[in-house]
Symmetry: C2
Subunit: 272 residues, 2 copies
DNA sequence: CTTGACCTTGACACCGTGTCAACCCGGAAG
DNA sequence: CTTCCGGGTTGACACGGTGTCAAGGTCAAG
């Protein structure tokens, strides 16, 4: 017979936890003194304790551990749980690895530049989105060429939506595609439920499963700065980008481009 | 200006969390309506939000994130934090990998045998331990040879300790070493603070940094069963064992070996 | 004015574990 | 036999990041 302290010390658990397991019915002491309430454990309970600890170390919750050790599960179900756990762990591993790469990237950055970057890239999923849009051709993918094409295009879209009595339901989005002869097709899209404006195209922008995004503040003529940060982040973190970035207009000021705020979103994949 | 809901949706955070960040002073809304208490966020707050989210995704706690974004830290300190985090992550990674291997090993086992193993191996650290001991030579490492040597040896140790007025402070431990001519030196050790018995050797059993352990119930003649489980576990989980296992007697019954309980402990290393 | 979507605060829950407080027991020393 | 100390008992609170619920106030569209 072991007192709780001895049993705990040998089993490498805290006495606190043994009491907890008792409370959960996971591991009851072999004997409880009815008078003093002292718990006493027998040597052969070490195997149950070990089973519990082993399962817990595998990352199962105490509840799951309970189900497993009390063999409420068929071999089939057990396989199921283990496979689930396996999948979870693989996921977790991937996540941890990504974190680590990220931390290392930042560490390199800070060693090189001597300070913390203030423009932060974050990875997110972009949900699919219904929009109304117009598009046009720009001679190149360059702020100076694109601006003059894009601005009036958005003007048109808003005007036509307004005429059709449809309300924009979100922030305007510009996106790009390669077109013939090295030209670029620019799209001016405004989120809206499908409407009946014959002079607008209604479509659904596809989901981006993983997009690297950055918030750009100020004139779009300086978008390069943010795009570069984005590109570097993507490379440093072991992703690969696809296509052109979408540009979401979060804040617009007719008079002063310095007040503009955009979010750039570019689809990325984990190479492999 | 965004309402909390819009800001949350765009930033991929829950409104709950934005309120939490407000409460922590991590990200205050640009404007709070004094009358209604409504929070309103400005577009340029997205970059702060993103910085927060990015740091959080790196696995920093909100408190740490606070310190980092508010730049209360020098580049030096930041480097420190990042390196610490890096170390933690590497650790976590190793742990996750081990878990995964373990889960996979069990999965293979259960697929092969159709049921869950009930003898559970667990990995633990064995602290160094002061003991009093006697040793002798056994012709081989085999239950039939060892028993007759070991039992009287323990009798001697207990007797001499008793004569010297020293109290055992833990469970008896047997351990083994190779000796000359393929014989084995068996040690009968009993935990005790250093004493003055000239006819006993007092020494400190070294720490085992990582030991794979299993609880064996019953006669030591059947120790093979547990030792095999142990060996297989070690192999399946990608460790390598070193030397012979220690045998800790957790429960002893003079009359019936079926009631004996031992823990086998064998030092292992992660190959690599 | 009504309705329904959205906002407010405050509270409770999760989970595994540590820690504290207030009190009781067991065994060894005086 | 008393005294003392280590260790046992229960019960409570805390952590952190997040979800969820309830009760009530607000906003904007019809």
């Amino acid at each position: 017979m072991f007192t709780i302290g001895d049993f705990a010390a040998f089993g490498q658990v805290s006495a606190r936890m043994l009491r907890h397991y008792d409370a959960l019915g996971l591991l009851r002491p072999a004997v409880v003194d009815q008078v003093t309430g002292y718990r006493y454990y027998s040597a052969d309970q070490f195997s149950r304790l070990n089973r519990i600890v082993a399962l817990k170390d595998l990352g199962f919750s105490l509840q799951q551990v309970g189900e497993i050790v009390d063999a409420k599960l068929s071999a089939e179900e057990l396989r199921g749980m283990l496979r689930m756990r396996q999948a979870q762990l693989e996921d977790e591993l991937a996540r941890s690895t990504a974190r680590l790469t990220s931390v290392e990237a930042r560490l390199r950055l800070i060693e090189k530049e001597g300070h913390m970057p203030t423009d932060d890239v974050i990875l997110k999923r972009i949900a699919p989105l219904r929009v109304a849009e117009l598009s046009a051709i720009s001679p190149s993918y360059d702020g100076a060429d694109i601006g003059p094409v894009l601005q009036p295009l958005f003007g048109q879209v808003f005007e036509r939506l307004w005429k059709a009595g449809v309300n924009p339901s979100g922030a305007p989005i510009a996106y790009y595609e390669d077109a013939e002869n090295d030209t670029i097709r620019v799209h001016a899209a405004v989120p809206a439920e499908a409407g009946t404006a014959a002079d607008l195209e209604f479509l659904e922008l596809p989901e981006l499963d993983q997009a690297a995004t950055i918030v750009h503040q100020g004139d779009m003529m300086e978008a390069d700065r943010s795009m570069q940060t984005l590109a570097r982040w993507i490379e440093d973190n072991g992703y690969r980008s696809q296509g052109y970035a979408r540009e979401v207009t979060l804040q617009f000021d007719e008079n002063d481009p310095a007040n503009w705020v955009h979010e750039f979103q570019i689809a990325v994949t984990t190479p492999d």
